[in-house]
């Protein structure tokens, strides 16, 4: 099956300006050689600590940020070579839901204008037809038609996030990038929004790239899960497989930190030493070796290859055979 999205060796460096005249000094290696594929209709989760480059990956895929290197294929077409106008038209097929529902809606536009804007921009509907489709979209995400005349500040966080979802749905996309869509919401609202996202996927059959830092959330949502550390993918596997038999030490440490809602269960937690190193000057060899509890000699010298150790289970670690 042809993947919907294929990311090859994706790299994004942010220059850190130095000196009086803005000489390009060092760079922040936010994303450094990430590879993965997303198939039509599936959900791929992306987890990692904050600052590991998950969100940057999402933005680069949509070309909201231009990558430093790498290739992004959408339905077999490299979108990084597309001229502006063609890229603009392709945006109909790829949408994004943002993390912060308080920042992602223009405060000067009514909800109806926000949700209807994508249709208007591409000339897909106008007048009464536009109004009808906006009402329909609002109903899909569990809001009511009369909400269209209100402003974003009149809504709660969860409702605003629904507006953001309706906007992403408007163009009938094939891929939606969810950039931590629930991490700004109350826990009680989180599951509502997650279930909404799942129901919508069942109904419209698009693919998700689901970026989050909560492992439970990702497990609930994803078919496959990728784990990122300091700008690199360290493990990628089917969700069940990843959660039952994590191979990379970093994944194991992450999973051991997930709280279990049962006070009687005594879990062995793997406590990682130290902090995440700076992405300006990442460690040599395997980037995780400074905090790894299975560190070998080779780890500090040679970067491990990202290889398929079991069918559909990829991992980048010298300690895994």
């Amino acid at each position: 099956m042809q993947p919907l999205l294929e990311v090859k060796n994706l790299t994004k460096y942010f220059p850190v300006k130095k000196g009086l005249f803005g000489r390009a000094g060092s760079v922040v290696k936010a994303v450094d050689g990430v590879n993965f594929k997303i198939y039509p209709g599936e959900t791929m989760g992306l987890v990692g600590e904050s600052g590991c480059g998950k969100s940057t990956t999402g933005r680069v895929i949509l070309r909201l940020l231009e990558p430093t290197a790498g290739e992004i294929y959408f339905k077999g077409k490299n979108i990084l070579n597309l001229p502006n106008e063609e890229m603009r038209r392709l945006r109909q097929k790829m949408q994004i839901i943002f993390q912060d529902p308080y920042a992602s809606l223009n405060p000067r536009m009514t909800v109806g204008q926000i949700v209807g804007e994508p249709l208007k921009v591409f000339g897909l509907a106008s007048g009464a037809e536009l109004e009808k489709r906006v009402q329909k979209l609002l109903e899909y995400v569990g809001l009511a038609g009369y909400h269209a005349r209100r402003y974003p500040h009149e809504f709660s966080g969860g409702q605003r996030q629904r507006v953001g979802i309706a906007r992403a749905l408007a163009l009938n996309p094939e891929l939606i990038i969810c950039d931590e869509p629930v991490s700004a919401l109350d826990v009680s609202i989180q599951s509502q929004v997650l279930n909404l996202l799942k129901d919508l996927q069942r109904e419209f059959n698009f693919a998700y790239l689901f970026i989050a830092h909560g492992l439970n959330v990702v497990k609930h949502m994803s078919d496959r899960v990728g784990v990122m550390y300091l700008g690199q993918m360290v493990e990628l596997a089917d969700a069940k497989e990843l959660y039952s038999t994590p191979l990379h030490p970093y994944t194991q440490a992450l999973l051991s930190a997930v709280p279990v809602p049962d006070p009687k269960v005594k879990k062995k937690r793997i406590i990682l030493k130290g902090d995440v190193p700076s992405p300006v000057n990442p460690p040599s060899g395997c980037r995780f070796h400074t905090r790894c509890f299975k560190c070998l000699d080779i780890c500090s010298r040679q970067q491990p290859e990202f290889k398929e150790v079991k069918p559909n289970h990829w991992v980048a670690c010298h300690a895994v055979q």
């Binding site: 949408q95 920042a103 992602s104 223009n106 994508p118 921009v121 009369y146 408007a170 909404l196």
Partner: protein, 298 residues
């Protein structure tokens, strides 16, 4: 799907379906602000007075009776007369024409050019930003009055040229303010969202960025009107702007300066006129800002 919609929208009862008009809403909010409304009424009255000056003014503003010079306010001359025996009230009424026109025009020109340059510089950044803003810095590095005088000497004397000179000289400030606001607004996720749904750069600036930077622009613009009025006065005082015997508040203030101690009404009344007008513009600006921001709604 429809069940899901029903379930989550449950309890929400449709409200009255009257159509929403942003203009009406803005007006409703502005009306609540008493200071802004007073200022608006004052400025509207001032505009009417300026327009109908020849019918309202009791005397000829440019020809005085020398015998009546430097008279104190009286029933005949409500605000007294100046050193050439001209009626000060009439001169203030006629002066409103020039001051309002210069203030509004200069700000309108400076604001539109400044907004275009500032939003281009702020939105695109990089080289364009550097090119535009360094040029603005060069202009800002001159004392504005000096630069205005330089422009006036190239353009020639007269009110129209004063407007052009003042708008060129004050423009960099607007460009700076717009650029700064654009820089902060463009980092918002809704701007990225606007790009993600396929908007072109021009549409993003016009529909998503500029409406969100309007508050500082309006406030600065109203303050700018007062600055423009004062700069016209300065140019008039130096003999470059409004030419005597035409009446203009700043020129009156400058000319009356030498009689300040024995005939204070010569400077007092034009001064009051300037102060009230400037204050009205500032208060109106504040009111507009509050009324234009939907987040401050009660």
């Amino acid at each position: 799907m429809s069940e899901l919609a029903k379930a989550t929208a449950a309890g929400a009862v449709p409200e009255s379906m009257e159509t929403y008009s942003p203009v009406r809403e803005f007006w409703r909010r502005l009306k609540k602000n008493k200071l802004a409304m007073t200022s608006l009424i004052f400025l509207a009255a001032l505009t009417l007075i300026a327009v109908f000056a020849p019918y309202i003014a009791p005397y000829d503003p440019t020809n005085g009776v020398m015998a009546d010079s430097l008279q104190k306010p009286s029933a005949q001359h409500l605000l007294g007369t100046d050193e050439l025996g001209r009626d000060i009230l009439s001169r203030i009424i006629f002066g409103a024409r020039i001051s309002l026109r210069v203030g509004l025009l200069a700000v309108a020109i400076a604001l539109s050019i400044g907004t275009v340059l500032g939003s281009i510089a702020g939105y695109f950044g990089g080289r364009i930003d550097n090119l535009i803003m360094r040029f603005m810095d060069v202009m800002l590095s001159f004392p504005s009055l000096l630069l205005a005088i330089a422009f006036m000497s190239v353009l020639g004397r007269g009110v129209e040229n004063a407007v052009i000179a003042i708008s060129i000289v004050t423009m960099p400030e607007y460009a700076r303010i717009v650029r700064g606001s654009v820089l902060s607004v463009k980092e918002n996720e809704y701007v990225q969202a606007a790009r993600a749904i396929g908007n072109r750069d021009g549409a993003i600036i016009l529909k998503h960025i500029l409406p969100n930077v309007i508050a500082p622009i309006i406030v600065r613009g109203t303050l700018g009107i007062s600055t423009a009025i004062l700069e016209t006065a300065a140019l008039g005082f130096l003999g470059l702007g409004v030419q005597p015997p035409d009446a203009e508040w700043g020129t009156m203030l400058g000319a009356g300066r030498s009689y300040m101690f024995n005939a204070p009404h010569l400077v007092m009344f034009p001064g009051i006129a300037i102060t009230l007008t400037v204050m009205a513009f500032n208060l109106l600006g504040d009111g507009l800002r509050d009324a234009l921001d939907p987040r401050l709604r009660q």
